[in-house]
């Protein structure tokens, strides 16, 4: 995670400086005919490049905030993304579980700290899973449960409550 964050910053800086350099070159109108000179002259190159930079910056921020969430909240929500194409790699100490209800549409892929699995509250969820799907099904652990409910249980486990007042 940490490594990724560093990489993100580096990339951002690199891109910004690169674009700044390009812009300066365009401004000084040096002999860079190869770098699409007509366009440079016609459109305001500064605003365009600046917007690209801004775009990159926000994207980088998004990635970082995901990492931030991950370290703080214990999981990342990536359910909206079509995970079939490219599932996000599972961070160390975590595993991917699929949470949702059969009739309630799609399952969300959620990263859960492995330590939660040994918690009795999580054990109840796993019992539901066993009832519904048994033990031998392909893919990640699937939990038949509403997302809101699942998040509530996670919060509870995190806060160290073990009182069995579920549902």
């Amino acid at each position: 995670m940490v490594r990724k964050r560093i990489r993100g910053f580096l990339l951002k800086h690199r891109v910004t400086t690169l674009f700044r350099r390009l812009f300066r070159r365009n401004c000084s109108q040096s002999a860079y005919s190869r770098l699409d000179p007509p366009r440079c002259n016609r459109v305001e190159p500064f605003s365009k490049l600046a917007s690209w930079t801004r775009c990159l910056r926000t994207k980088a921020k998004e990635i970082l905030s995901k990492n931030y969430n991950n370290s703080c909240r214990g999981f990342i929500r990536v359910g909206q993304e079509p995970f079939i194409e490219k599932p996000a790699p599972v961070p160390k100490g975590h595993m991917a579980v699929y949470v949702g209800q059969k009739d309630g549409g799609d399952f969300q892929r959620i990263f859960v700290p492995v330590a939660f699995f040994n918690h009795p509250l999580f054990g109840d969820l796993l019992k539901e899973s066993e009832k519904e799907y048994g033990f031998n099904y392909p893919g990640g652990i699937t939990i038949p449960c509403r997302i809101s409910e699942f998040e509530r249980i996670q919060t509870r486990i995190k806060s160290g409550q073990s009182t069995r007042k579920l549902r």
Partner: protein, 380 residues
């Protein structure tokens, strides 16, 4: 004459024991590391063996044993190596029972017949079944649940250069046979699983129960006998063998709805007799927990490419790595998960690798030592 073959490994064993300064009983009874039990290497009278067990259920349902030495109570009786893999279901009681009594029964029949034969092994299976069913009858009023417990039963026996494989259930044994043309080892599966997911098994069940259209049922994409159980042969499962146990006080969820007159499951093993060849190098016995993650080829390749010492443990690890990957986690994280919850990731896994060292087989009269080891020593 046998000594050259024996010595190095025996010495190695002793050194290791001293180095690790292990707990009481040393390496002789195996070691425990969390949910893993293992005996990295040992000697049987026809070569070496390696054994490993990992627990997933909150109560260990897999049981296993290796016995090497005299196979009867007679002084001049047959000698050999006996391997048993007992994969229990519904509880640990039947597999534990079989672990205690099957080999004793085998010795009894071997003494009576003064030899080892397919018939002797079959008799031992059926006698063990009878003993367990009488235990169920005896406990019926206090522990009716015992009628719903059963076990798969895979036995391998090497005696005078002949290999006997007897199987009832869905454990599997694979022979690693040296292949000179590809300079590798070819897997030869010696047992067939009695699992309703296999078409020949469904056909067999349908022909045995022509009047019952519901003998095999597809439920949640899995074929089950009477919609209840995947295996078609087992020891125990009294409620599927005798009508007298398919009633109260056994809970309704463990019963078959309609009465039956013919046993639904059978305890009779399928038996294969094979004369060992010079190319036959090793046998990999394992409960289905391993085979759902590793193919026969993968298993023999691992055994062929790594040192013998700890090879069973390596196979278990390889299986667990696949299991972790399937559940989208790391192997190191899987190890943190407690027994019971573990069952969501993999089943109990038992692996016994038996190396067949030809130089020892030829002098099989050597009665040097008796080995008797049970897998999973002190597991709950």
């Amino acid at each position: 004459m046998v000594k050259p073959c024996w010595k190095p490994s025996v010495e190695g064993d002793g050194n290791r024991r001293r180095e690790n300064g292990s707990r009481k009983g040393g390496d002789l009874i195996g070691r425990v590391d969390g949910l893993l039990w293992y005996k990295d290497i040992g000697n049987h009278i026809d070569g070496e063996f390696s054994m490993a067990v990992i627990q997933a259920n909150s109560l260990m349902e897999d049981q296993s044993q290796i016995e090497s030495g005299p196979l009867s109570s007679l002084d001049a009786g047959p000698c050999g190596t006996f391997v048993g893999i007992y994969d229990g279901h519904g509880g640990p009681e039947t597999s534990r029972f079989v672990n205690q009594s099957l080999f004793t029964n085998l010795k009894k029949f071997a003494s009576e017949n003064q030899e080892i034969s397919a018939n002797v092994i079959k008799k031992a299976f059926l006698a063990t079944e009878e003993e367990f069913l009488s235990l169920v009858r005896q406990q019926w009023s206090v522990k009716p649940l015992l009628a719903s417990v059963g076990t798969c039963c895979l036995v391998g026996l090497i005696c005078n250069g002949i290999l006997y494989i007897a199987n009832a259930g869905d454990s599997r044994v694979v022979l690693g046979r040296a292949n000179k043309t590809v300079r590798g080892v070819t897997p030869v599966q010696l047992s067939t699983e009695h699992n309703a997911n296999l078409e020949p098994i469904r056909d067999e069940l349908r022909s045995l129960h022509p009047d019952d259209s519901q003998i095999v049922v597809l439920k949640h994409k899995v074929w089950r006998v009477k919609g209840i159980i995947q295996v078609s042969r087992s020891i125990g499962d009294a409620y599927l063998k005798r009508s007298e146990f398919n009633r109260e006080p056994l809970l309704a969820k463990f019963r078959v709805a309609e009465p039956f007159h013919k046993p639904i499951l059978s305890a009779e093993p399928s038996i294969l007799v094979h004369k060992l060849q010079a190319e036959d190098q090793f046998l990999v016995f394992a409960s289905d927990g391993l085979w759902e993650h590793l193919s026969n080829q993968e298993a023999v390749d691992i055994v062929n490419s790594y040192p013998r010492q700890g090879i069973a443990r390596r196979l278990v690890k390889a299986g667990l790595r696949v299991a972790a990957k399937k559940r989208e986690m790391r192997y190191t994280d899987l190890k943190k998960i407690d027994r019971g919850v573990r069952r969501h990731f993999h089943d109990d896994i038992t692996v016994v690798v038996v190396f067949i060292d030809q130089c020892l087989i030829k002098t099989a009269s050597s009665r040097s030592s008796t080995v008797s080891i049970r897998g999973g020593g002190g597991f709950p």
